[in-house]
Amino acid sequence: SSMSSNKLLAVFPLTIPLFLVNHLPHDDDVVSIRSQVIMIIALSTIAYFSTDWLIPKITPFLLRANLFGYDINKKGSKEGEKKIPESLGIVPAFVFIVLIILCQSFFYENNQKLVEYNAGLMSICFIVLLGFVDDVLDLPWRYKVILPLIASFPLLTVYANVQGITWIAIPKPLHWLLHESVNLWVFYYVYMSLLSVFCTNSINIFAGINGLEAGQSFLMAVSVVIHNLLQLCFGPEELRGNHLFSVLLMIPFIATTLALLNHNWYPSRVFVGDTYTMFAGMIFAVVGILGHFSKTLILFFIPQILNFLYSIPQLFSLFGYSCPRHRLPSLNVKTRNLMPTDDLNLVNLFLRVFGPTTERSLCLRLLSFQSICCIGALILRYTLAHVFYDSL
């Protein structure tokens, strides 16, 4: 019954996008937007079941290859002795890449969009490779900063050649200071590559609790899809291509993440590894950059931004703080509650502010915070949008 209540929690956020799908435009073009979205949902269902089936099959190979960890949040209890296979992110990433490669022919007739699709996929594939190599070899952190930068190059090249817009719109209240829009020239490209580095690493550091990494990615992906569907239903026609592109990448991602959560939710039978966190981060960066909604995307990343800002003293060893390998809470075996440590991250902050609690409810609290932030971001984006900008 706890399994079914978990599943209900996951299904609930999905109802909103499904409701919106009904309202998608379906009168234009040969292959209408609505039928494309329904097709990708059908294909993603196959991806869900494939990932769910494949994860237990890969697990013995990972254990044999010494890719496992011990659940630190259960240290001291019986479950803390069990070997948990690591890097299971390779499975949803693999199924996602195969699905996208096979599906691109259904959705794009002209070369231009296809080139963007392939460039995004190229960046994602490179990051998955990097993430898996990192899981196996334990690369130092400088690789985790430099390599996502390089992985974003295909995106930048495609962006430069296909769209090339380096203007950003300035909010109306600031029109007197700067003009209506400002051209950032090469700094727009710097901004795009920094976005890739940020997205991949911020999910990586907002982690450590069973189901947190996959759970936050799931919620953010659902929010992105809601934003995309709202734009497809009610937004201007010329932006539809961008948002459709994003939806066609996000829905398979949601499906494979759900399958992973089946095994990763508390109590975790598998760990997702850096492979998953970097994969997730890069997908968000790809859809944000090529879909032209990176500012909205950043709004969805508010919990990760807060966590990053709060962690800065430890990450950069400032003010006398040291940065240990794991910055996780400790388990009180008698009460089965997690107790906060001195580490500077949102996980410990929540324990200090709201009191010690079990791992499962801590994760639910953090994910509720993520949901509130995502809903708040959507409200902010849509109500204040015409305060700041002219269009929706």
Partner: protein
């Protein structure tokens, strides 16, 4: 000034791209050299290591799967190159942006990077051998999809001497896609089985890559010049990073390249052959690998017993390699196989030693043959050799076969095919 620079770029686009690619490749090669030097311990600690069975000290752990470093740096150089080559179009807006060429480059890189990922996963997880046939097929999917979407031709040209009997070129339809993925499977596995001595895998790949690069240079002035130039620019960083890897992998090897490298190399060759429509020429450069594969067929398909390792045998007292052997009971072979063994050994293509009453096998009659690889065959013909001498001999054989391939391609081919064949 910008307009003038723009027209200059349009004319000399290829030169700018080539020169920058040479610079990037050299930089990449140097980077690979130093990264491999520093990461031996990291690989060993992660469990990625193997033992050199052809040395006196065959207990020492040698870091494995170093192909991941050369592959990753290759991809990084290609990303930078894509920016340089296709970024030039921003400055000169005379010609329209070559979407199709760029799309093909992306599909090629996507296939290579998928293969690198799958190859590394295979090295780490030690998947069963049947996946070795399946993984290259998966990795070739981006190429197949790109070909399909761009309405690529599925025609193959027929040799001229068959023209009175058939059409000039036949449309093999969906079989063309099967051919493309089989090419990927073959190239990766052919390099994989023609291996086992220090430096052979990387060395043969470098020779093949240089051969294809020379072929591309000769073909740039033709009507398919753009795609040959692209293929050349893909091979340049491959050669540079592989040379850096070879410096560490040649006798005596300090690192092993792993299946990661053989997958990566095979896929690169299959990819340039497919996008450049010269896959038959690539096959001609694969002659030693083909010979090795054909010679190995009886063991690979279990017509004869196949041991786990078919490497040459190391002789510590002479510090040289001898061909390794397999002993089989004659009772377990049917008479066709026995006849074949007899014919091959009389042609000196096989070493067969018959023992009427073998004490190690319950006094039954046995035959001891050399393991069926080209390496063992060369050792049978030339007697025991030192490992580095053997490697250089096999690489020299590879170069000779390349020369033969060029000869066939440029003299005889003109009598067989009317024009440059589309495949």
């Amino acid at each position: 000034f910008m307009q003038h620079w723009g027209t200059v770029l349009t004319q000399n686009e290829k030169w700018v791209a080539s020169l920058s690619q040479v610079a990037l490749s050299v930089g990449g090669g140097v980077m690979v050299y130093y990264m491999i030097k520093q990461s031996g311990t990291t690989f060993r600690n992660a469990g990625l290591s193997g033992r050199d069975l052809c040395k006196r000290d065959n207990k020492r752990l040698i870091p494995e799967s170093m192909g991941i470093i050369s592959g990753t740096v290759f991809l990084m150089v290609m990303f930078l190159f894509a920016g340089v080559r296709f970024g030039q179009h921003l400055l000169s807006s005379d010609k329209p942006f070559p979407h199709e060429l760029f799309g093909q480059l992306l599909a090629a890189l996507l296939s290579i990077s998928c293969m690198l990922l799958l190859g590394f996963v295979d090295d780490v997880l030690n998947l069963k051998w049947r996946y070795k046939l399946f993984l290259p097929t998966l990795a070739s999917l981006p190429l197949l999809m790109s070909h399909y979407i761009n309405h690529g031709s599925t025609h193959m040209s027929i040799p001229m001497f068959l023209w009175p009997y058939m059409r000039h070129c036949i449309n093999i339809g969906k079989l063309y896609y099967v051919y493309m993925s089989l090419l990927a499977v073959f190239c990766t596995n052919a390099i994989n089985i023609y291996a086992g001595i220090n430096g052979l895998e990387v060395g043969q790949s470098i020779v093949i890559a240089i051969s294809i690069a020379v072929f591309n240079c000769l073909e740039i002035p033709t009507y398919l010049g753009n795609i040959h130039h692209l293929s050349l620019c893909i091979l340049m960083p491959f050669i540079a990073t592989s040379v850096a890897l070879f410096c560490h992998n040649k006798y005596p090897a300090r690192v092993f390249v792993g299946d990661t490298f053989t997958y990566f190399a095979g896929m690169t060759f299959a990819v340039v052959g497919i996008i450049g429509h010269f896959s038959k020429t690539v096959m001609m450069f694969f002659l030693p690998q083909l010979l090795n594969f054909v010679y190995s067929i009886p063991q690979l398909f279990r017509l004869l017993p196949c041991p786990r390792h078919r490497l040459p045998q190391y002789n510590p007292s002479t510090d040289s390699l001898e061909f390794s052997r397999t002993t089989i009971r004659t009772r377990s072979l049917n008479r066709h196989t026995l006849l074949a063994v007899r014919i091959l050994s009389s042609l000196r293509l096989l070493s067969a030693v018959y023992v009427a009453s073998d004490p190690k096998f319950d006094h039954e009659s046995t035959v001891t043959i050399n393991n069926l690889t080209l390496i063992n065959l060369v050792l049978y013909w030339c007697g025991p050799l030192h490992e580095s001498v053997l490697t250089w001999m096999l690489l020299f054989l590879q170069v000779l076969c390349t020369g033969l391939a060029f000869f066939i391609r440029y003299s005889v081919a003109n009598y067989i095919f009317s024009d440059k064949p589309p495949n």
